[in-house]
């Protein structure tokens, strides 16, 4: 495999500048993959649960980053733009899985079953329960919960990704936390 030495400390502004320069765009894509590949993979994986789906969505995310690199606006953080594309790809994949007859929110049970199938045998039971509870959440609550809890983003950053108002995001996060706690409490007792 071809190895390219990459400086992981390069700032996002510099990466964004390279991305918009055709002669350096490929190198910028490598930098993005090295810096954000793993966090984006986990963000997508938490949304779609199955590894193969996460792989497809992450690949599409990166191809779209390259394809639409000239549409990136410096007004927003590079990370927000990347997460926005990754979130859209996750949603697209879930919509395809849901088909014409049902909404993405109807996939809860199927995603919950995938959590059990995809989890390592040695995984902590409460950690698995947390993922099951997240899988059952409506998509908006799931998105804001994942971005806030796992990626530790501010509501302002999440607003740039989802386009929802701060108040809506806060409400959705609040509902998500309550539902998760309820699910874990109920299933821990069984």
């Amino acid at each position: 495999m071809k190895k390219t030495s990459i400086d992981n400390s390069i700032a996002d502004d510099a990466i964004a500048e390279m991305l918009c320069n055709d002669s350096r765009a490929e190198y910028a894509l490598r930098l993005i993959m090295q810096k954000y590949g793993e966090p984006l993979y986990w963000h997508i994986r938490r949304m779609v649960v199955v590894h193969d789906d996460a792989e497809d969505a992450l690949q599409e995310t990166m191809l779209n980053v390259y394809k639409y690199r000239n549409t990136y606006s410096k007004e927003f953080a590079l990370s927000s733009w990347l997460y926005k594309i990754a979130t859209n790809e996750s949603l697209k994949l879930l919509k395809n899985r849901a088909g014409f007859m049902q909404s993405v929110d109807d996939l809860g049970d199927s995603l919950k079953n995938s959590v059990s199938e995809e989890s390592s045998p040695d995984a902590d039971k409460t950690v698995v329960l947390l993922q099951e509870a997240i899988a059952l959440l409506p998509i908006k609550q799931k998105t804001v919960f994942n971005l806030r809890y796992y990626d530790e983003m501010s509501y302002e950053e999440i607003h740039h990704i989802t386009g929802d108002s701060i108040n809506t995001l806060k409400t959705n996060y609040h509902y998500a936390v309550n539902k998760i706690k309820e699910y874990i409490t109920e299933h821990s007792l069984l």
């Binding site: 495999m1 071809k2 490929e26 894509l29 490598r30 993959m33 090295q34 590949g37 793993e38 993979y41 986990w42 994986r45 938490r46 590894h51 792989e55 992450l58 690949q59 990166m62 191809l63 390259y66 959590v115 995809e118 989890s119 390592s120 995984a123 902590d124 409460t126 950690v127 698995v128 947390l130 993922q131 809890y149 796992y150 936390v177 998760i180 706690k181 874990i184 409490t185 821990s188």
Partner: protein, 108 residues
């Protein structure tokens, strides 16, 4: 009550070894490929469909019929089939005869 912070941010799944490196190479290989040109097959299909439509238009027996055979409204005005035949020209009768031989009388 459950404290989510105590559960932590660990994931129950595993990411395959070297997954990001391998995916990076695949993505780079993909973006290096020149933009795929659209296959000209659709041009052949469109041309074939146009040719087929032209042939059908030229050979359609109903087109031929409109040159002489009374249309549906005229048929309803005819007192009898015999009277309808009387309104047909010799050429029309020839075509009718040819079509009857070819398709059979019941289908016409």
């Amino acid at each position: 009550m459950i404290d989510l912070e105590k559960i932590g941010r660990e994931m129950p799944y595993k990411m395959p070894d070297h997954f990001i490196e391998n995916l990076t190479e695949r993505v780079i290989a993909e973006v290096k490929q020149p933009a795929k040109k659209k296959s000209p097959i659709y041009l052949y299909i469109a041309a074939a469909a146009s040719a087929a439509a032209m042939v059908l238009l030229l050979l359609n027996p109903f087109n031929i019929g409109t040159m002489g055979i009374p249309d549906y409204e005229n048929i309803s005005e005819c007192k009898s089939i015999d009277e309808m035949f009387q309104t047909m020209s010799a050429d029309d009768l020839g075509i009718y005869s040819m079509m009857t031989n070819y398709y059979g009388e019941s289908t016409l």
